[in-house]
């Protein structure tokens, strides 16, 4: 007589696993990676490979040291590696890229308990750590297609820096304020994966279509930033197409672990990101609007979560204690 398995209901299951979700995010990041290779050369791939390799290795070693299950199979470390690489300039020394990846996985993620437990986005936090530790290496931008002509690539300013320059200064460095089209395609200076709004948008729409991310976050984030820019008399299109807005809005502000669960909470989160990005860009001295906004909102997430719980069908409102 064979023994029957007894387990609580439900007995039916669907087959989307954590690793499927992560794999879809990797797929969604491919267009931006390809764009990075086109504009900044094959070194983009090398930087990405180093980041991914270090991330996976760090995850493996951490889990081993902590005597926990091996979790590299869930592909979340791969996602973190790719996203971090996209946040780095293509000229970054490889050891710095590897260090960033190690910080993201070992310090920001595994020390807090691993997948789903970290309070801050690993890639964003690692980028900020690198930015503070190696400011010159982290801001050594090359112009698109420079890798083709010279041994030493010509460095140039990013659109956000260019926007703040006077006409004389622009002439001096021999650069122009880029057109909307260049900004949209990504034909501008910047981190290797952040410049092409088109590629990031494609990936983001893919994730929305596959129901991996909730469109509320990127929509509210980008929308509120554009609106604030418009109200302040700025150029909303330039605002949202430059810097890391699309990368941040579609791939980092939608991170499951570090953002609120409910749609209400996600809207608050996106709004906060938009406002903080605007404030930092226009009143701050650090060129880190998107990264800091997401990190700050990550920290606020538990509080947002408390205030934005879902409405429960038929529930009686909690009776407040009368004193």
């Amino acid at each position: 007589m064979n023994r029957l398995t007894v387990s609580p209901s439900p007995h039916d299951e669907q087959y989307t696993k954590t690793s499927d979700i992560m794999l879809n995010v990797c797929i969604a990041l491919l267009p931006a990676l390809i764009a990075g290779c086109i504009f900044f050369g094959m070194r983009s791939l090398i930087v990405t490979a180093v980041c991914v390799g270090t991330a996976v290795l760090s995850e493996y070693i951490c889990r081993k040291l902590m005597k926990r299950d091996n979790t590299i199979g869930d592909l979340s470390a791969v996602v973190t590696g790719i996203i971090l690489a996209m946040n780095l300039p293509v000229t970054i020394p490889l050891w710095i890229a590897a260090l960033g990846s190690f910080i993201a996985i070992a310090v920001v993620k595994q020390l807090f308990g691993g997948l789903g437990q970290n309070f801050a986005n690993p890639a964003i936090t690692a980028r900020i750590v690198l930015m503070v530790s190696f400011p010159s290496a982290m801001t050594k931008w090359v112009l698109p297609f420079e890798y083709r002509n010279s041994v030493d690539a010509v460095t140039g300013a990013t659109p956000l820096v260019l926007q703040g320059m006077s006409a004389d200064k622009l002439a001096e460095i021999n650069q122009e304020i880029p057109s909307y089209l260049d900004l949209f395609l990504g034909n501008v200076g910047g981190c290797l994966g952040e410049t092409s709004a088109l590629a990031l948008l494609l990936g983001g729409l893919y994730l929305i279509a596959r129901k991996i991310i909730n469109p509320a976050v990127p929509f509210v984030f980008i929308g509120s930033l554009a609106l604030l820019s418009f109200i302040a008399g700025g150029d909303p299109f330039y605002e949202i197409l430059s810097g890391g807005v699309f990368l941040g809005a579609f791939f980092m502000a939608t991170d499951y672990a570090t953002t609120p669960i409910s749609t209400k909470g996600k809207i608050v989160f996106g709004l906060g990101c938009g406002i903080i990005t605007f404030v930092i860009r226009h009143f701050g001295s650090f060129p880190e609007g998107v990264s800091f906004s997401i990190l700050l909102m990550n920290i606020l997430t538990p509080y947002i979560e408390q205030c934005t719980r879902t409405k429960i069908f038929g529930a009686k409102e909690a009776v407040k204690d009368e004193k």
Binding site: T5, S7, P8, H11, T16, G116, I261, G314
Partner: protein, 425 residues
């Protein structure tokens, strides 16, 4: 709130077109004294007694209980302790069948004169909700408030199960007569037959039959699980919200399963109590899926053999649907009043549970708007206050959260444990 959330399941209604056939008479039947929700019955027979079909063999003084009748004629061979699939310990009467199926003299059409005698008749029939929960029907028929709407639950939202659908196709008139009877007896003006739109044949039958009737309407539900859940079906058909701590009758509604309605009508005509039920037999270990009529008390193994099941390969046996049904630990356990389906599988879910990634899918599918991921966290640290404010008590265990979880976390199970935890304190 406009639309309650839910999940689209694969229907797998393989047996939709399989007319119900009778199972050959089993050698013996086992009749537990608890087959409904409520108090256990006391056996009225002793070992060695001969019993006939329809004879009452167990009853209770408790109001929240229904009697048990013999489904066969034969001899009582044992009365022993028995553990139901839900874990309740009660007595069970084992009867060896004599194959004659001679009918008891107790089986006579009941005399119904008023509401009170009708409710008593319903109790005496031994019927309880046939949809799966087994709530004693006569209790529902005795509300404190005035009822304006009778909802006939014909959603049958669980995959595989087609027994209610077959009842609708095979016994349409019994259902309509039953509705009229209940409406008249309880003074209810309006009835709604709520059917999921994947049962178009049944919907057509009802629509044709009800052309000239403006007190009973057919309501097409979307095929989204769990449409058949009581609170969900009430909201979707009447937009009424059954509040926490209240029952449907408080909002003027009674919900009753479609097969139960048809049975009640037949009982009033024949006096034959609830001793046979329709069961959908399906699952990947079953080579001949069927809809069968089986005497209540039939050991599952007889049904599995009748439907050519590879018992050697059997790994999981479920009484009920795959979402809310209960695992059967032993193939010799019997059909009970709430067995609407028997599903046999040669595989089981052996995926590992991994960490919650906070993707929010469980929150996105919960029809009641609960937050299973948060409940899971609060349960882990035994935060009673937070569990209460997360309204864990409202969870109806539909299983949608566990179903959708990419990390294979057993959220519905945790919810039940959390419920027990807040009751303890």
């Amino acid at each position: 709130m406009n639309k309650l959330k839910g999940i689209k399941l694969k229907h797998r209604k393989n047996t939709d077109n399989y007319a119900t056939i009778h199972l050959p008479m089993p050698q013996k039947v086992i009749l537990p004294m608890v087959m409904h929700m409520g108090a256990s019955c006391t056996p009225l027979v002793r070992v060695g007694d001969t019993v006939k079909v329809g004879q009452k063999i167990g009853d209770s003084d408790a109001i929240f209980s229904v009697p048990v009748h013999s489904s066969v004629s034969g001899m009582v061979t044992a009365i022993s302790d028995y553990r139901t699939a839900a874990g309740v310990i009660c007595k069970a009467i084992e009867i060896k069948t004599d194959g004659k199926q001679s009918i008891s003299h107790e089986v006579i059409p009941p005399v119904i004169t008023d509401k009170e005698s009708f409710i008593n008749t319903v109790r005496e029939s031994g019927v309880c909700g046939m949809g799966g929960a087994g709530f004693p029907t006569h209790i529902k028929f005795n509300p404190k408030n005035e009822i304006d709407t009778l909802i006939i639950n014909a959603a049958e939202c669980e995959p595989y199960i087609t027994s209610d659908n077959r009842e609708m196709l095979e016994n349409t008139d019994d259902i309509l007569n039953g509705i009229t009877l209940i409406k008249n007896m309880l003074g209810i003006k309006k009835a709604i037959i709520a059917v999921e739109n994947n049962k178009s044949d049944a919907i057509k039958l009802f629509e044709n039959a009800l052309k000239d009737d403006d007190t009973t309407e057919v309501f097409e539900l979307q095929s989204v699980y769990p449409q058949g859940a009581e609170k969900v079906i009430i909201y979707n058909t009447t937009k009424r919200i059954v509040e926490e701590g209240k029952i449907p009758a408080d909002f003027g509604v009674i919900v009753i399963n479609v097969s139960t309605v048809a049975f009640i009508y037949r009982y009033t005509q024949t006096g034959m109590p609830f001793i046979t039920r329709r069961i959908t037999v399906d699952g990947n270990a079953v080579s001949e899926p069927k809809n069968i009529f089986a005497p209540i008390g039939t050991p599952f193994v007889d049904i599995l053999n009748f439907c050519k099941t590879d018992i050697e390969k059997l790994k999981v046996l479920i009484s009920g649907g795959p979402m809310m049904g209960m695992c059967v630990p032993d193939i010799n356990m019997p059909v009970v009043k709430t067995t609407n389906a028997l599903l046999a599988f040669s595989r089981y879910d052996n995926r590992k549970t991994s960490a919650c990634i906070r993707c929010g899918r469980c929150v996105a599918v919960c029809p009641l708007g609960l937050m299973p991921a948060e409940i899971d966290k609060a349960y882990k640290i035994k935060d009673i206050d937070d569990l209460k404010s997360l309204k864990i008590n409202l969870c109806m265990n539909c299983g949608s959260c566990t179903y959708i979880c990419p990390a294979n976390r057993k959220l519905a199970e945790t919810n039940q444990l959390a419920k027990a935890l807040i009751l303890k304190k």
